[in-house]
């Protein structure tokens, strides 16, 4: 009945409809993220070994790695890492805790919203690092000023993400809760908070990264130990291997945080369609 059609020849029955629905649907491609790291590091290693990149511009990745191993072996790693982790944990918890609480209140109460949203908008663009000397005066040169700086820095993005997330909770669900006579507290704890959780969590990704940045800043003044202090000292001595070891530590910390949030999302947000 129908004649066979061969490549490229005209088909008298018509032309095939061209497919134009391609793209705009990114899919996960496994392994590429790792490959980018490997290629960049390999290029740096090759460049520094051949002399194409001068040793003053970039340290050799293998030397950085050796420095890291030294740091580990000598036990210095923990001496620097432990105080830093404590600072980010304490400061971050305060900032995120207060941020989430106030964010929820802004989302729920008109008065709080009217009062605090302009204040938060005014605080958000302040580079918190600029306030460090002030915080040293207010809270002392010791740990408290470092906690305060990190807390303040994580607070603003958390508040904004949280009240945005509360605003986006499906009003229909809240109506439903009211129509079944659920108590105010039940509606908040069983409908509003779980509904806002995905948005709060993606806000935490930003907040914690900012927390890590401020950690380094806070260790610029009055810190003997800590990853930030380690980096600043290396920078002052122009010791590139140590500088990059410290920077790599921060990157690893960032990756770790992102991985933990991924885990939490997978564990608690499986209900999302």
């Amino acid at each position: 009945m129908s004649e066979r059609r061969d490549e490229g020849s005209d088909d008298r029955r018509g032309n095939p409809v061209a497919f134009r629905g391609r793209g705009f649907a990114p899919r996960p491609v496994p392994g590429v993220g790792l490959a980018v790291f490997v290629i960049l590091i390999a290029a740096a290693e090759l460049g520094t070994r051949t002399g194409w990149i001068s040793a003053l511009t970039l340290p050799r990745p293998s030397a950085v790695f050796a420095t890291f191993v030294d740091l580990w072996r000598s036990g210095q790693l923990w001496i620097h890492l432990v105080p830093s982790l404590r600072r980010i944990l304490v400061g971050g918890s305060i900032g995120i805790g207060v941020g989430v609480s106030l964010g929820v209140m802004i989302g729920l109460f008109g008065l709080v919203r009217a009062g605090l949203v302009p204040l938060v908008a005014a605080l958000f663009p302040i580079p918190k690092i600029a306030l460090l000397p002030l915080f040293v005066v207010w809270f002392g040169i010791d740990e408290a000023s470092k906690y305060a700086l990190i807390a303040f820095g994580t607070f603003t993005p958390t508040v904004v993400a949280t009240f945005g997330a509360v605003d986006n909770v499906d009003r229909g669900l809240i109506r439903m809760g009211q129509s079944f006579g659920l108590s105010w507290w039940s509606i908040v704890s069983k409908i509003v908070l779980p509904g806002a959780f995905p948005g709060i969590l993606s806000g935490l990704r930003v907040s914690i990264s900012i927390g890590i940045i401020l950690l380094v800043a806070s260790e610029m003044i009055g810190a003997e130990h800590g990853v930030g202090a380690y980096i600043l000292e290396a920078g002052a001595l122009y010791d590139l291997e140590r500088l990059f070891t410290g920077v790599a530590l921060l990157s690893i910390l960032g990756l770790l945080v992102s991985w933990i949030i991924d885990l939490v999302e997978r564990r608690f947000l499986g209900w999302r369609g």
Partner: protein
């Protein structure tokens, strides 16, 4: 328990949506509210359940609800309003948790309503795993769990495809036949109205007023798809509504 609507009127800003609506909803009857879009039928339903307050007039309950009723006025929503993070069972439990019921009693109610809506084997499923029809059955199970005196159904089948809504219609009829309940059923679908309504209230276009009240005498269980008597009722309803619907369709929306 009966419901009474007395001279209810309402407006949103300068747009008057309802004017002088009076209606009684007697015990054990399903009253369908039909009307062109924007005639205020869903607004009226929100007044009935206390989710909104009318500007004029009152909504009254007459008589006491049954003593075992946990939530006398209970909604079934068009878009189901299920919590996506709770399972089928968890969604039903949600509305029982605030009442002081024993664990055993809650378990018994949940098992009973899931069985009545034929959802028992899906108790552990999440809403995202369910079809639209199943989601609405969960919402109906949830509404039954609080033993309502009056069910307020806001276009419960409108988000479903026509085959699914036909199935659910049968489910509602079966539920009512087994145990008659009072219901106000808002719909824009006239065939649903003639299948379920003991009385069908036709509202005019905005501002909504009662145009006509049609009584259908046939028992619910005898009403089948394509029944000539029902078709005649449906045609009569359409005659009443057509001009209104045309006019409503051509209206500009907005405040």
């Amino acid at each position: 328990m009966d419901l009474l609507i007395e001279n209810v009127g309402h407006s949103y800003g300068s747009v008057e949506v309802l004017r002088e609506v009076s209606l009684d909803i007697p015990h054990g009857q399903i009253v369908c509210l039909v009307g062109p879009s924007g005639c205020g039928k869903s607004t009226l339903l929100r007044f009935l359940g206390g989710l909104e307050e009318p500007r004029a007039g009152r909504v009254l309950t007459v008589g006491e609800p049954p003593s075992d009723s946990l939530n006398p006025l209970t909604y079934v929503f068009q878009h189901f309003a299920l919590l996506p993070w709770r399972t089928v069972e968890g969604n039903v439990r949600l509305v029982l948790e605030d009442h002081r019921l024993g664990r055993a009693e809650i378990d018994a109610i949940v098992a009973d309503v899931l069985a009545r809506t034929r959802l028992s084997e899906f108790a552990g499923a999440l809403p995202k795993q369910l079809s639209g029809g199943m989601k609405q059955r969960v919402a109906i199970a949830r509404a039954l769990a609080v033993r309502p005196a009056v069910m307020l159904l806001d276009e419960p089948l409108s988000a479903l495809d026509s085959q699914t809504s036909e199935l659910l219609l049968d489910d509602l009829v079966a539920l009512w036949t087994r145990q008659p309940f009072t219901a106000v059923y808002v719909t824009h679908n006239l065939s649903e109205a003639v299948r379920l309504g003991h009385r069908i209230v036709v509202l005019s276009r905005r501002p909504g007023r009662i145009r006509e009240i049609l009584t259908v005498d046939m028992p619910l269980s005898d009403r089948h798809l394509g029944d000539p008597v029902l078709e005649a009722h449906q045609r009569q309803l359409w005659e009443l509504m057509r001009d209104e619907a045309v006019a409503a369709d051509r209206e500009l929306l907005g405040e």
